[in-house]
Symmetry: C2
Amino acid sequence: MKVSALGEFGLVRLFAEMVTRSRNKKVDSWQKLIIGIGDDCAAWRGDDAIQLAHVDSLFQNIHFTLETTPWRALGWKSLAVSVSDIAAMGGVPAYALVSLTLLDDNEVDDVEALYQGMIELADRFGIAIIGGDTGRASVVSITITVFGSMKGRRQEAMLTRSAARAGDKIAVTGYLGGAAGGLEMLTGKLKPDNGSASQLRQAFLQPLPRVPEGQVLVAQGVRAAMDISDGLISDLAHICEASKVSARVNTSLVPVHPAVKANFGERALELALSGGEDYELLFTAPEPVIDKVKQKLSCPVTIIGEILSGEPGEIRLVDSAGKPYNLPKKGWEHFKS
Amino acid sequence: MKVSALGEFGLVRLFAEMVTRSRNKKVDSWQKLIIGIGDDCAAWRGDDAIQLAHVDSLFQNIHFTLETTPWRALGWKSLAVSVSDIAAMGGVPAYALVSLTLLDDNEVDDVEALYQGMIELADRFGIAIIGGDTGRASVVSITITVFGSMKGRRQEAMLTRSAARAGDKIAVTGYLGGAAGGLEMLTGKLKPDNGSASQLRQAFLQPLPRVPEGQVLVAQGVRAAMDISDGLISDLAHICEASKVSARVNTSLVPVHPAVKANFGERALELALSGGEDYELLFTAPEPVIDKVKQKLSCPVTIIGEILSGEPGEIRLVDSAGKPYNLPKKGWEHFKS
């Protein structure tokens, strides 16, 4: 059935039914929910926590193509990227609003798969999808706003971009370059071995936001963090600019994704440094704090360099011998060619 | 200067500067703001109120054209339509997130005008614009999420679509059909007299969300309301469906916009019934409650019919003689042709 046959209100009813079916009465955000899909606004009981909100838009043929990203994965990923931003503040996600545009001839089955993917991610993190809008446009687009909160009102506990200090070490969770490697595989530029293929596919299509890991960072006293969406170096530059510090990264320490290392040869490091979309946490803290974080987390935590005073925003890359390393491309930016 | 020359981060900096300049330290939402544009999330101190959130997307050549809607008006209107939804719940808007897509060759001056229009509306209602994202796409689009709250946690006080009861009278604020008339004028289908021209232009390009009016409705005990965006009859049907009631509207009572009445002859009533985008409040309540609302509001409040039991969602239109009135087109719905 075509979207045009179901109509806007039919679609909204479909989404409302799917979301209602997915409701988990044990989850706090559903318990506090007063009004979800179907009225002018979504409403829930507030509390004394700091409230967090984030919005992200994904547009067809800009952020994704339907050739490389199946609808279900698109749903998962479009919510995951916003949840990742809540995680990177040290918050816990609670609610999401979904604004969707579709073409007249999109298949309802596909749109249902999209919502199913979102619901799976939402379920995993106890998020209630509470509304949004649905319209017609010349491209498929998904804009998701996620609301979350931090326990208590201690604003000092938040993980911000502006809290890096000279003397901090720079660390990342997990492995880098997997999403960029996955995209190259899905566009047919690479034929990896079977074991790598599923890892790379997962890294690009189903990133897992580091929500519990963000909580551990807060608990252990980390102050500066963000998620890696544009690429390690580009995002580190954001932290350095906001914190008015510079950074030195030892490229030999960067945790390149094993499947990328196995399949991309000399280009592996470049993908890890500037590939983007890994949604790992990039953070800075004194070394003893990072040591405590390592003990508490089951995922890899790797120190890759240090924060220095000096030219704000400047990133120096060096190899294991301390020699300068030149990066062809820093990361993703809209409008710049 | 072209958007492509400024770059994404240049645009974000521009928006951040514009918003920072517009900051009003006396406004509660700014006082409570912890982090605005420039980090992963926006954050503010919560309180014990009910929190409200709403998202709306406007797409070029679907919801607006740049031929009929100047950039500044587009900014005003794109925020106004979401604020109107907060008003229609009886809430007070507080924060907005703006997700924007632009073409490479959009002019920065135009984009600045867009933001200026948003800031003007935000200023008027004490709203802090606290973040969002900006990307490149094949069309201009604006997705705005607005957060608001209701004083206290009394969920019974909220204005919902599902609270209409048989025996209630149906009322609207202001005049209807002005926005649809304005659009016909701006597309060149109508050449009105000079006095009408500015009124129609204002009605289409600069709707004023009924925020204080929504507060009066709550204070006087109204329970069922929504804003008129799709068209009076279409939106009344939403209320009737959600409340499982039917409605009878006396078309001779509908407050047709004076400039529409003066310029559209026989079509005036049709524009008022199904034109949409007027952003007036449509509400139902026992007649004594509506009388109290009338006394408290300076804008027109007109009773146009009554809520009946019977087929849920059914709307019967009658003329002053009680004879059935047939409406050619009910209202706006995406995907339906």
